[in-house]
Symmetry: C2
Subunit: 166 residues, 2 copies
């Protein structure tokens, strides 16, 4: 019998409590990035993505997550961040800034809103001023910046590693 | 003074020794996935991606990593895996299989070849039979499988977390 055999259509892991992680994104220019974000959210057990913009989810990319993940589209992000803080979310930006924590060392609060910037501009100072923490991912070579969804993937993976059952 | 201020064009982290991680990919159908893989490799400090297929790297996606990451394209993967094992690489598949280790718990060897499957078929039994280990990433919801580059991003992040300086 082979040591490793492919298991197709393995059922997802069961969370012991709903994920308390929320992805909150500035306006993404690319619907591909938005759709990849939705698929990431679905696979990671997240119920909602807040996208401050008018993008359209491509079902070929997001797959079934297009049905299971709610995408809300507020007009402006600062009021959303303030409201989330009032609701007890730790608001954590993903950016290279002064005062940032390394993602390698960062201990997430369970109730976290991960705030991500747009492809080119990242997070504005207005948003940065509203955050509890900023986490940063080391970059080791050219082009010296991860794609926004790649960086978000790492940050969401790290969260799930710390809270494997929700 | 603001607590968090965006740092643009921050220089990459310096590795104390070259990355001993190699990405080895079965033939990807999508040049977008291949190009995203090359950008991920560049940003993570990897020198080489082995892609067993005839894809073309899109410079708009891979950016400068198109110049700094060598993409080699062997015709067949099994001889590559055998050669890497002889050269002392731990050959680690990324797949849902029997006998797999959870990526959350897995301790990488420094000298690792991460073997990834194609978008639809994943890793074949012929390849699985050649591997030292298989790592698996928990999936929590629909569509119940990560995009191949998303999964690779998580596996590469976990490696860099364990070997932050190379």
């Amino acid at each position: 019998m082979p040591r490793f055999e492919h298991i197709r259509h393995k059922p997802p892991w069961r969370l012991e409590q709903p994920r308390a992680l929320l992805i909150v994104s500035c306006s993404l220019r690319s619907n591909v990035n938005l759709s990849r974000l939705v698929r990431l959210a679905g696979c990671s057990g997240l119920a909602e993505v807040v996208h401050c913009g008018s993008g359209k989810v491509d079902r070929d990319i997001a797959r079934d997550a297009a049905d299971t993940v709610t995408v809300t589209s507020p007009r402006s992000l600062p009021p959303v961040v303030r409201k989330l803080r009032n609701r007890g979310y730790r608001c954590v930006g993903l950016e290279q800034t002064t005062g940032s924590d390394l993602l390698y060392d960062y201990r997430y609060h369970r109730r976290t809103a991960l705030i991500i910037g747009s492809e080119r501009e990242g997070l504005s100072q207005e948003i940065l001023d509203l955050l509890d923490d900023v986490v940063e991912i080391p970059v080791y070579g050219p082009p010296a910046s991860y794609n926004v969804v790649t960086a978000t993937t790492m940050a969401v993976y790290e969260y799930c590693r710390q809270f494997p059952r929700g």
